[in-house]
């Protein structure tokens, strides 16, 4: 099965950047149009102060050009003709987006120039440093590698658990049972994964169009928060554990009976611990997944049941040997 594991970051346009960050960055489009379809080539901001003075060495044109009070103040100190000529120089060097911070009024001449060149101008009320800081988060999220996996994800006892397996094995029904036990649905059937590059962790969420809905065979579509309350859903959760359902017949002898067999599933280059749970008539999957999550939590906290039992048995064996020797 293909995981669609692209390790490289996602590419995105200015239009997507504006849509994702409009609220958080208190940002509006001053000059948009076709320029908004430009790709954000390097997902970070650049203060173009030095370039505006006429030094173009190492000018970071692939980034978003952030104009703060310093840059704007300098521009205002120039005569209008030079001011526009300097900006034109930056555009000629392929700058494609300028963001005016601190609620600076964008001069009409700049707007006209941008419109002619198909360059995007954005404006924000945020202070420059505040914008640069918040902008990093928005850009990182957009850039994060993403993939979609067939799996139902539930937050179980604080652990993000994705259940996967052939259709008809009861993933959604198990999720339903888990929800009734006070756990929260993250995504039904199709889980969108996002990689946090810095933390090397995966985060699971539902696709926007179907968030909070589930399909239960025989019942149809249900809106989870309406039926079970708002605590029954979770918008995003780290993916901590993958539980793979398999028909007992398909597993044959290859089944971990001890719990010390470490298996992994790899998505976007990140390893996630995996448990394979055999599905057979009469097995209470809800209970099994809940126990698996709790056992996982315990293991992360440092307790290893199989290892502990092993040590106890060895100690007993030692004692018995010494007992017979004396």
């Amino acid at each position: 099965m293909a995981d669609g594991n692209s390790i490289t970051g996602s590419s995105f346009t200015l239009r997507q950047f504006v849509a994702a960050g409009a609220e958080r960055l208190k940002m509006e489009v001053v000059v948009g149009g076709r320029g908004l379809d430009h790709q954000v080539l390097e997902p970070m901001t650049n203060r173009p102060g030095l370039a505006l003075t006429g030094f173009y060495g190492h000018f970071a044109w692939p980034r978003l050009q952030l104009v703060g009070l310093a840059e704007n103040g300098y521009m205002e100190s120039l005569d209008p003709k030079t001011r526009i000529a300097r900006l034109q120089e930056l555009i000629d060097r392929r700058a494609y987006c300028f963001i005016y911070a601190c609620g600076i009024e964008v001069p009409e001449a700049v707007k006209a120039l941008a419109e002619k060149a198909g360059v995007t101008i954005l404006a924000t009320k945020l202070l420059t440093r505040e914008f640069a800081h918040q902008c990093t988060f928005v850009l990182e999220e957009l850039r994060a590698p993403k993939t979609r996996i067939y799996g139902t994800t539930v937050e179980v006892a604080g652990i993000g658990v994705m259940m996967e397996g052939d259709s008809g094995l009861g993933k959604s029904e198990t999720a339903l049972g888990l929800i009734k036990h006070g756990n929260a649905l993250v995504a039904d059937d199709l889980t969108c994964l996002r990689k946090d590059i810095a933390a090397n962790k995966l985060f699971a969420r539902a696709c926007d169009s179907t968030r909070n809905y589930m399909e239960i065979r025989g019942i149809g579509l249900i809106h989870v928060p309406s039926v079970f309350g708002v605590t029954a859903v979770c918008r995003e959760k780290s993916l901590d554990l993958v539980v793979t359902f398999r028909r007992l017949n398909d597993i044959k002898g290859d089944l971990d009976r001890v719990g010390d067999d470490r298996r992994w599933r790899t998505f976007l280059g990140v390893n996630v611990p995996q448990l394979v749970i055999p599905v057979a008539a009469g097995r209470d999957l809800v209970n099994l997944v809940e126990t698996a999550a709790q056992q996982f939590k315990l293991r992360v906290a440092g307790y290893d049941a199989a290892g502990d039992l092993d040590r106890r048995l060895k100690r007993l064996a030692d004692e018995m040997r010494h007992g017979t020797a004396s």
Binding site: R148, Y150, S167, D188, L190, C207, S209, T210, E215, L221
Partner: protein, 96 residues
Amino acid sequence: MAEEKVIEKEVTLLNRYGLHVRPAGLFAKTASRYDADITVEKDGVEVSGKSIMALMTLEAVSGSVLKLKVSGPEAEDLLEEIEALVARKFDIPDEQ
């Protein structure tokens, strides 16, 4: 196992609101009746044709082109019925 022959075909959605709940449901229901695998691709995103939830995430609207990939013993029959279903605008009276 015998080699898998995959039939590819593009269909264009004609009904007014595209793959919303009822069409997606009909699509998945039809796909599940046959002994065949079917995937649906739009704008580079590929999902299983047997999953209602997945089909709805495609956000396919009227005029969207869906690339179908069908395989298995009853692939041709399934493809035929899906094409007819799309052509009949999923038999939804308000969207003809």
